[in-house]
């Protein structure tokens, strides 16, 4: 589908949104074509949308979708554009619906402890306002300073402190959602806007979160708020081997401390990488091979008591506490450090500029050691295939308060400037293999990013089984003409005839 100047739909969009909010310039489109996931820079122009719209309200979004539905034009929703799968990347041109202008705070309900916001708002900016009421919204991804609420809904995001406060799916109570036909519905628990638990009807809220823009666009959300924590404690411990660190992180997560907000395990590849190439690494003795950190939030008296318990557990298992300075500093810097364009190394040890990418999965605690070895083997193979890749090690983060499963990530440095078709193919194959390892250990292909990118997406039908057929049926029912983010999640299979144009 290609929209050209003079196309009637362009004029209709301008009438609905005003001239300033319908963008057709090359730079306007190029800058809404990519996300931070690794990207074949040499193929940037292939992902361009035909135009960009910036609606200012639910009604305007609905009108855009009604037009797109009528004219069968692909629509890709875009909020922060910080996702690590490519939900916001157009594959078939069409219209990018950029919802950043819908960022108003509509209500702060102090009695029911909720707020209602436009989905173009950023959580940090929201928290600046909420802090005046000693409240906060604890959805805390690594991209906290720049990701937006709508993207968190579209990807069903994961929060670093989710073991204490829950993840986006728990924190978003309800939202206005524009269906691909332009119809506006409200989804939540039951019909309520501020209801946290309902048994009425199908639980549609989960369906309309994490669909990567394939089922419509969320425009206004009601969020759950908490008292702004009075105290934070984030101890870091060092270990001489992975197994000891693994044992400790398990004990900490299973301890049942109420203020426990999450724990992170750094494997030996991660520590080696930090030691070798992280300019902000504070030198540790070479005997340090693995690290664990935990984070606690709450009132000072409860954090102190919980912290003492966790310190006791770690000490009794031989962990060495790294001290207050490293503990506080490293945790405080968690957002700023996650995506700096670091350098990596070729196999010969040459330092080259590389950007960071992380592949994630949800793995049960008992699967972590084996998945780690299998994943590093894949990274090693990738490295042998092309010098544009480097293995930056793995993290495992608790998904919840009981320690059942972990967001498991392997960080790969990619020399994107040198990515060519061969290296891209190797990367896609490696992603498929990482996902296969995950499934063979009973895990889920993604804990937080989504699994709709090339490579891993091939295994989604296997992961979901009969559930994938239900996904296809739902997609067909909700989006009869496949206009919403076509080409993602193998959902073209829902339609007898391939819709839109073939990918180039």
């Amino acid at each position: 589908m290609t929209i050209t100047m003079g196309d009637p739909v362009l004029e209709e969009l301008r009438q609905v949104l005003g001239h300033d909010h319908v963008l057709t310039g090359r730079a306007d489109r190029l800058n809404r074509t990519r996300v931070p996931a690794p990207f074949p820079v040499h193929r940037w122009a292939e992902r361009m949308p035909d135009l960009v719209v910036m609606p200012g309200s639910t009604e305007e979004v609905a009108e855009v979708l009604r037009l797109a539905h009528a004219y069968r034009i692909p629509v890709v929703p875009r909020d922060g554009g910080t996702g690590l799968t490519d939900g916001a990347v157009p594959l078939r041109g069409g219209i990018v619906v950029d919802v950043k202008r819908i960022n108003q705070i509509k209500e702060i309900d102090l009695e029911n402890r909720t707020c209602t916001v436009g989905t173009g708002i950023n959580a940090l900016k929201l928290n600046e306002v909420l802090s005046r009421h000693d409240l906060f919204y604890p959805d805390d991804p690594a991209s906290y300073p720049c990701s937006l609420v709508g993207g968190r809904i579209g990807t069903s995001g994961w929060s670093l402190i989710g073991s204490r406060y829950g993840h986006s799916r728990d924190l978003v109570l309800s939202f206005d959602h524009v269906l691909p036909t332009g119809q506006v519905i409200h989804v939540g628990d039951g019909i309520g806007r501020k209801i946290t638990k309902s048994s009425s009807g199908y639980q549609l809220k989960h369906l309309f979160m994490g669909h990567q823009g394939t089922l419509g666009i969320a425009t206004e959300a009601t969020l759950k708020l908490f008292p702004k924590p009075e105290a934070e404690f984030s101890p870091f411990w060092a270990f001489e081997d992975y197994d000891s660190a693994y044992a400790v992180v398990g004990q900490l997560a299973r301890a049942g401390v109420a203020t426990f907000a999450g724990a992170v395990l750094f494997d030996e590849w991660k520590v080696a990488y930090l030691r070798r190439d992280d300019e902000a690494y504070i030198p540790q003795p070479s005997s340090v091979k693995a690290l664990v950190c935990a984070a606690m939030y709450g009132y000072e008296d409860e954090v102190r008591a919980g912290g003492r318990r966790l310190m006791r557990i770690a000490r009794s298992m031989g962990a060495r506490y790294l001290g207050d300075e490293i503990s506080q500093g490293d945790w405080a810097a968690r957002h700023d450090r996650y995506a700096t364009p670091l350098h990596g190394r070729t196999r010969s040890g040459q330092v080259v500029p590389m950007s960071w990418h992380c592949e994630d999965a949800s793995i049960n605690y008992t699967g972590l050691p084996a998945v780690r070895l299998a994943w590093h083997e894949i990274a090693d193979r990738l490295r042998r295939e092309s010098d544009v890749f480097d293995d930056w090690g793995m993290f495992a983060y608790t998904n919840g308060s009981t320690g059942a499963d972990y967001l498991t990530e392997i960080d790969i440095g990619i020399w994107e400037q040198r990515l060519d078709d061969a290296a891209w193919a190797a990367w896609v194959a490696a992603k498929r293999d990482l996902a296969a390892v995950t499934l063979s250990h009973g895990g889920s292909i993604s804990a937080c990013h989504g699994s709709c990118r090339e490579g891993e997406v091939d295994l989604v039908p296997e992961e979901l089984g009969g559930g994938f057929d239900v996904m296809l049926a739902i997609k067909r029912a909700v989006d009869p003409h496949n206009i919403m983010n076509p080409g993602k999640y193998l959902l073209d299979r829902a339609y007898a005839e391939p819709s839109g144009e073939e990918e180039p």
Partner: protein, 393 residues
């Protein structure tokens, strides 16, 4: 790709790629333009990514020149950039969005791509040797603000007062002159003062900027000036960043920010504020002082020395995301956008329940004053406030 574009892309390739490959946008929510327009095409990330696209041949400067108008040069994005924060020390690298924006604007002008407002503004500036900030701007009247103050012309130390302060906000330089006289600090006025050239440089008119800088430097040299006092943060940037770039090591003029000088005079007891000023105020950190020069302590020192004031401070880091919208030529080309940014800033002041917003930048004062009308919040220049408390207003 025409040659200048190629040379430009080569110069900026790595910086642009450092931003592009990160792909994260911590800058976005502190950028004043982005905050009010929410248009990602006008974000620091886009300003870098465009350079990558230009190098690939997918974009030409003529297609994006108008996008680069949308920057006030406040520098918030550079402070918030993780590249500067964490990898910067290692690589001796710093994100320089402000310089990049200036470079794209200059490239556009070199290739004959003009923004109508900026072109007119710089043409008039060239004719009048001062920016057309008021109707009566001319070389003959550049010292009119000092009428009756009996200030000498020339000397080792001169007070540089140009454009907005000289022709529009004249009460600010008058207050400065009176305070320096009160403290017995010797200074004179410049012999033949032209605009500092900074705004021309910001809008891409490099040749003109350099010509103006040469004139001023030669005038200083001819009259034995060793030290230049500046009260305008924009001049301060021009003299401490642009002039050394133009003239290299031969630039041996000491540049002194009046606010730092006044703070020193207070500390030494040479100025003693004694007239109570009964106002409830907050302070607007001028971007060029706080974000670009790290000067935020002295203004607060001055405010705390004034008796009678109730001062609701907002820390300097929170103010990274504040801006008046007046900088970088934005007010010339897109005054409506400047107004929206000023309104946002004034909204933050209103939340504090103050009656006065104090600032220290003549350029910020005009749009902030406009925005203050709707909220019944007055805008007062820090220099003038101190002068009032010293009894020399």
């Amino acid at each position: 790709m025409p040659d200048p574009e190629k040379r430009f892309a080569e110069e900026w390739r790595n910086a642009a790629y450092n931003c592009f490959s990160s792909g994260h946008k911590f800058c976005r929510e502190v950028c004043p333009v982005m905050q009010v327009t929410r248009n990602e095409s006008w974000s620091p990330t886009a300003f870098h990514a465009n350079v990558v696209a230009m190098e690939q041949g997918s974009l030409e400067v003529a297609e994006v020149a108008a996008d680069y108008v949308n920057c006030t040069g406040c520098g918030a994005c550079e402070l918030r950039c993780p590249n500067s924060l964490f990898t910067g020390d290692f690589y001796r690298f710093r994100t320089r969005t402000v310089d990049l924006v200036k470079a794209v604007r200059a490239l556009a002008v070199r290739e004959g791509v003009h923004q109508p407002g900026w072109q007119r503004w710089n043409l008039l500036t060239d004719e009048q040797t001062h920016e057309p900030v008021a109707s009566e701007v001319s070389q003959e009247r550049v010292r009119d603000w000092a009428q009756g103050l009996d200030l000498p012309v020339g000397g080792e130390t001169i007070l540089f007062v140009d454009c907005e302060a000289a022709f529009h906000r004249t009460t600010a330089p008058r207050a400065v002159a009176r305070m320096l006289n009160l403290a017995g600090y010797k200074f004179g006025l410049m012999n033949e003062q032209w605009c500092c050239g900074g705004p021309a440089a910001e809008m891409g008119y490099e040749e003109q900027a350099l010509r103006f800088a040469w004139h001023n430097l030669e005038d200083w040299r001819a009259s034995g000036v060793r030290r230049v006092l500046v009260l305008d943060p924009h001049d301060y940037i021009t003299f401490t960043e642009d002039y050394p770039k133009y003239f290299g090591e031969s630039f041996d003029i000491e540049v002194v920010l009046v606010i730092e000088l006044l703070a020193a005079l207070l500390r030494e007891g040479r100025l003693v504020p004694h007239v109570p000023v009964e106002r409830t105020v907050t302070y607007h950190d001028p971007c060029r002082l706080n974000k670009r020069k790290g000067i935020w302590q002295e203004p607060r020192e001055i405010l705390r020395a004034i008796p009678g004031l109730t001062f609701h401070d907002v820390d300097r880091v929170s103010q990274w995301s504040y801006c008046s919208g007046a900088g970088g030529g934005l007010a010339v080309e897109k005054p409506e956008l400047t107004a929206r940014i000023s309104e946002m800033r004034m909204g933050k002041a209103a939340e504090l329940g103050v009656d006065t917003l104090v600032t220290a930048c003549p350029w910020a004062e005009r749009p902030l004053t406009e925005a203050g009308h709707a909220r019944a919040i007055g805008v007062v220049d820090l220099h003038e406030l101190l002068a009032e408390s010293l009894g020399v207003a």
